[in-house]
């Protein structure tokens, strides 16, 4: 450790508490907070109350800054602090779900945990080279050749991702006669970009694509290098499609599809590495095994008798690490599983495991909902790990909604009472029992049972069971599913429950959704992963459509905002362009876009400038030209009802609902957002910075805003992540309303509060991984409660 760091630590350690005075960042109302060190602290409150501002923007940011200063990589910049004074802070490490989600998609469980490098060394030293094709048979491959992240090791076709996007030519150019113009029109892009494309190819538009010279085909599809734009690529079909994927997470037309890489078969590494075996398997095969299976494989490994002493030691070290991960309930993951695709809880456990192993002390950890994604029965163990982190001398601050975790805390800070301007105050701080008695705290009221979850306005189920229609997935066998038939009642709220790794996502995301996609969009059969399966869907005739509302981040484009995502941004820009001042200056809707002509010329519309501090340290400063307003002066000169376009970006959803009350088309989707507890979100917050749960609620609002007719099936993956009990209550009301209007909802959930109000629950299990994949119970919450096979029933509360 740096000398400066240890000095810094000893200085900070003298104080028993972290004392913050006059915190006023975001909605915080000049609050004073005292956080006891070496303890487990829960920060609670409704969404938008200011928990994250306190825990992340003040405690974590300040800890990080002071630490960087102490080691001399950071000189204080002239930026206003969000507080008056802070003392007792130490180096801080944060695990924020949305930040890790955005992390490099090349990062995997294997790379993150260090196991991939260890396995690479093992293959390099102990692997058996089979049928070498080159003349260098006796030459060992260096470890780099076993890593998909290394230029020597990666499969060149997919750059080591195991999958890649491909233009599905059959869909783009379905017949010989379709002209280039028609091909362009098949791509779902904005008219502006399309017109550019058409202009560049104006001499060929009427020619059938099939008869174009190959050079023109290649250029229309993939473009060529240009130095004039940031992508360094001319405008072309692939770029438009990439744009769609960035914006929506997929190309809805199905022309641009993620496909398993045909060259490496998804194993990510090159042919060189795939010819080297341990125990008859190459590294790609090991990296796709669930960790439990890998642990077993390396334990019984017959090859080990021939290993060198070094190899044997390495094998044992790998096993130690593996068993720690399996104990942390991550055994169902594989080493190739990407970090951004992990559930929030999995991420936190992977991270905690790293840190427990490192044994560092005097650190302040700030964790964002570490129990998200865990079954009730699995939470205790995680809470034990967190306590161990505390016991070795760290301060652990968890932002939590989960009852078990809050009850385990030494100290609770409840922020509220409401969201946004209604919040920002300390409602309560002290031990848990005091919270339960605190009348002012909505968290306290729900935890003590004084407030209760809403019931359903509308219970569909007859005492004898469901008399209506069913949607049935037959013979589902993706991942660990054991050829199960799963029947979901339509027009109901159906829950899918089970321990982590039991097969919930496999049933819903990998079987049901692809089958729905195939049915409703006649989507080519590649839609189904593991296409050999005989899985099929029955009962779709009673549905008119479906909507998948996942927690996947909404693209990575920092220019995307909730306003643009829910489709009101174009309308707002038009409103500004129609103001007399805009008409006078002759500026159109495009000038009100901070990602194009309206952008501040200094920062290009980001509102920030990036300053490199050396190494991998960057800080962002407010752009000195526009002061963070993102726009050029011309755009800011136009006002609508007294507000500039930037003021609109800074508005919360709640504020915008009243500001735009005359604009019905703008306000209707905003109202939905407001009602599901998202009123505190700013219209201009970049969507990649939304948490998984927030992203999901924005998606849900967009889907509901579309006002589709008929019975729409909404499929939601853990919608309560990030929701406080009172926000969960709002969500339940909203789902209830969807059902009353004649729709159907399927939720994958752990939260007993939501499961308890479901009409029907399908429970997978009994355990995770290969020991799961069966339906162990199905029926009403009441029937699960009475079912001794069920591992979830005992946590449900039925109030009839």
């Amino acid at each position: 450790m740096h000398y400066a760091l240890s000095e810094f630590l000893s200085k900070g350690n003298v104080l028993k508490n972290i004392e913050i005075k006059g915190a006023h960042i975001h909605n915080l109302k000049n609050i004073d907070v005292s956080i006891p060190k070496n303890s487990l602290v829960a920060v609670t409150g409704v969404s938008g109350s200011g928990k994250s501002s306190l825990a992340f923007d003040i405690v974590f940011e300040e800890g990080r800054k002071q630490y960087l200063q102490s080691i001399g990589v950071f000189s204080p910049v002239d930026e206003e602090d969000g507080f008056e004074s802070i003392s007792g802070i130490g180096p801080a490490i944060a695990v924020q779900q949305n930040i890790i989600r955005q992390s490099n998609s090349r990062s995997t469980v294997g790379s993150r945990s260090g196991l991939l490098s260890m396995l690479s060394v093992l293959f390099s030293t102990e692997g058996v080279i089979s049928c070498s094709l080159s003349g260098n048979s006796e030459e060992r491959l260096p470890p780099a050749y076993f890593s998909y992240n290394n230029a020597n090791g990666m499969c060149m076709t997919c750059s080591g991702k195991g999958e890649h996007y491909e233009i599905y030519m059959g869909r783009l150019v379905p017949d010989e006669d379709i002209t280039l113009l028609q091909v362009f029109d098949k791509v779902n892009a904005t008219p502006g970009l399309k017109n550019l494309l058409k202009r560049n190819f104006k001499d060929y538009l009427e020619t059938p694509f099939s008869r174009l010279p190959d050079e023109i085909k290649a250029d229309a599809l993939y473009g060529h290098f240009v130095s004039s734009n940031s992508a360094n690529n001319s405008i072309c079909i692939a770029r438009l499609l990439e744009g769609l994927v960035k914006k929506y997470g997929e190309d809805p037309s199905g022309i641009y599809r993620m496909r398993q890489c045909p060259d490496c078969g998804g194993f990510r590494v090159g042919e060189e590495a795939r010819r080297v075996f341990i125990g008859g398997r190459h590294i790609g095969e090991l990296c796709l095994m669930p960790l439990t299976e890998l642990e077993e494989f390396l334990t019984v490994l017959p090859d080990k008798s021939r290993f060198s002493a070094f190899g044997e030691k390495l094998r044992k070290d790998i096993l130690l690490k593996l068993s720690a991960l399996v104990k942390a309930r991550l055994g169902h993951l594989s080493l190739y599983r990407t970090v951004p695709s992990l559930s929030g809880g999995e991420l936190q456990r992977l991270f905690l495991n790293d840190h427990l192993e490192s044994g560092m002390d005097s650190i302040i950890y700030v964790l964002d909902e570490p129990t998200a994604g865990l079954h009730e029965s699995e939470k205790d163990q995680l809470i034990e790990s967190i306590k161990r982190l505390r016991d070795i001398g760290n301060t652990v601050i968890v932002v939590e909604h989960d009852k078990k975790s809050i009850m385990a805390a030494d100290h609770v800070i409840d922020v509220g009472p409401g969201a946004g301007t209604e919040g920002g105050q300390i409602v309560y701080q002290g031990d848990v029992s005091g919270l339960l008695d605190c009348e002012a705290s909505s968290t306290g009221r729900y935890l003590s049972g004084r407030s209760s979850m809403p019931g359903r306005a509308f219970k569909r189920l007859e005492p004898t069971g469901w008399q209506g229609f069913w949607l049935t997935v037959r013979q589902a066998s993706t991942n660990n599913l054991k050829n199960v038939d799963a029947a979901f009642p339509l027009g109901c709220l159906a829950g899918v429950a089970g321990k982590s790794g039991s097969g919930k996502s496999s049933l819903v995301s990998d079987s049901l959704l692809p089958l729905l996609k195939k049915h409703f969009y006649n989507n080519f059969k590649e839609g189904l992963s593991g296409d050999s399966s005989a899985a099929r869907l029955e009962g779709t005739e009673d549905l008119s459509g479906y909507a998948e509302v996942s927690q996947a981040p909404i693209g990575r484009n920092m220019n995307s905002t909730p306003a643009s995502y829910i489709g009101i941004w174009d309308k707002i820009r038009k409103i500004f362009a129609s103001q007399p001042e805009a008409v006078k200056q002759g500026i159109g809707a495009g000038h009100f876009s901070f990602s194009s002509v309206g952008a501040c010329p200094e920062c290009g519309g980001t509102g920030r400038e990036k300053i490199w501090l050396g190494g991998s340290f960057f800080i962002y400063n407010t752009c000195p030209a526009c002061h963070g307003k993102r726009y050029n002066e011309q755009a800011l000169s136009v006002r609508y009802n007294g507000k500039t376009i930037n003021d609109v970006l800074e508005m919360t959803v709640t504020e915008a609902v009243s500001f735009f009350s005359d604009e019905r088309s703008v306000v209707s989707t905003l109202k939905v957002l407001d009602r599901i507890g998202m009123g505190y979100i700013k219209l201009g917050q970049p969507t990649p910075t939304l948490s998984g749960g927030e992203a999901q609620r924005v998606k849900l609002a967009r889907e509901i805003g579309r006002k589709r007719r008929g019975n729409i099936l909404y499929v939601l993956d853990e919608p309560t992540t990030g929701l406080s009990p009172s926000d969960t209550a709002k969500l339940i009301c909203l789902l209830d309303e969807l059902i009353q209007k004649g729709n159907s909802v399927i939720v994958v959930e752990h939260d007993p509060a939501v499961l308890s109000v479901c009409d029907w629950i399908i429970e997978l299990g009994p355990e995770g991984g290969q020991a799961g994949g069966h339906i162990i119970a199905a029926g009403s919450p009441k029937s699960l409660k009475e079912n001794p096979e069920s591992k979830t029933g005992r946590y449900l509360s039925i109030n009839e």
Partner: protein, 349 residues
């Protein structure tokens, strides 16, 4: 002396280079003495250095116990030789021209129907390092050359990578240069080494490069101390991006041929047109496998190889500068020597 004289030499160094004193060629020898000191002090990896002015050797020094007869592995300097050979093959009609497609030469290589990007890669793109090729597009800083070395079939490996990435973007690729060597063989029936012996080296009096026996493809055989002659890949294709060993005087001959716009004695070895096309300034400062430079209005083109191997031609000063160097990681930039000692030493043109 003026520039037109380049086509009107008073002798040709086919058999023997002649020397002259720097001052007789309008050069200040004090600078060249400092050059000698600078090489000894700061460029210890340089084993041989030659300066030819107006066709005469004005400076020739060997270091680290090397001498004029020793050959050096010149690494990527090899690429500029391949460039010359492609030009000769076009002059002679073996290859239609730089717009010809790479895959025309590999009809047996299978492509998918939708693989327009790969099918439309041209010889010009390989020469200018602007072909779409996967090895660099995936965010790697370096092309994985050790990986190339381990391939059972270098040409197939490279063709597999072709077509991915941005067409037209400058991406320095040794594998791409190897494809040009393979194209030469497909077009002429001779490997690049044989073709060079016959059409490039013999006319200039460069001694014939014999076939080398590649016992294996270990690091030393491909990049290291075992490299002799001009190495070849497992299929016998002369390595196109590196692997030529040659004496500093022969390197100088090659540079001198370019200064003379392809003319050598009575013979137009390479067309003048090819040489101007190869060395015309581009936004990437890279011609047909030649590095281009303009500094203080002075144009030069150079064959550069890792470790500090250089053939630098400065037509305006009728100057060829050659450094043969031990291949070291992160050598000191030899432009320093050219800019600080060699160019200032030319006092009258």
């Amino acid at each position: 002396m003026n520039k037109t004289q380049t086509n009107n030499r008073d002798y040709w160094p086919t058999k023997q280079w002649r020397s002259a004193s720097p001052s007789s060629c309008g050069m200040d020898s004090a600078y060249l003495e400092k050059l000698d000191l600078a090489i000894r002090a700061r460029h210890k990896n340089i084993n041989g250095a030659i300066i030819v002015k107006n066709g005469y050797i004005v400076f020739e020094k060997y270091f680290n116990a090397f001498g004029p007869a020793d050959t050096h592995n010149v690494a990527s300097v090899t690429k500029s030789f391949i460039s010359a050979l492609i030009g000769i093959a076009i002059d002679k009609g073996y290859i239609q021209g730089v717009e010809q497609r790479v895959l025309d030469f590999f009809p047996e290589y299978p492509t998918k129907a939708g693989d327009f990007a790969k099918r439309t890669v041209t010889i010009r793109q390989l020469l200018t390092m602007t072909a779409p090729i996967a090895s660099k597009t995936v965010g790697n800083k370096w092309e994985p050359l050790d990986r190339l070395r381990r391939q059972p079939d270098w040409v197939k490996y490279t063709l597999d990578m072709l077509g991915k990435g941005t067409s037209g973007q400058f991406q320095y690729s040794t594998a791409g240069a190897h494809l040009l060597s393979a194209i030469l063989t497909r077009a002429t029936g001779l490997c690049a080494r044989e073709f060079a012996n016959k059409h490039l080296f013999m006319p200039m009096g460069i001694s014939e490069i014999p076939d080398c026996d590649m016992k294996s493809f270990s690091l030393d055989d491909v990049f290291g101390k075992n490299v002799t002659g001009w190495i070849k890949d497992p299929q016998g294709v002369t390595v196109g991006g590196m692997g030529l060993t040659i004496t500093p005087r022969d390197m100088t001959r090659f540079g001198f041929l370019y200064l003379n716009k392809g003319l050598w004695e009575e013979q137009q070895v390479i067309s003048e047109q090819w040489i101007s096309a190869s060395t015309a300034m581009t936004p990437n400062e890279y011609g047909y496998l030649w590095w281009l430079r303009e500094k203080n209005g002075l144009l030069s083109y150079s064959a550069l190889g890792s470790g500090g191997n250089v053939i630098c031609c400065i037509p305006e000063k009728d100057l060829v500068v050659v450094f043969a160097s031990k291949i070291v990681v992160k050598p000191r930039d030899s432009w320093e020597l050219i800019d600080e000692y060699i160019i200032p030493s030319v006092v009258t043109d």
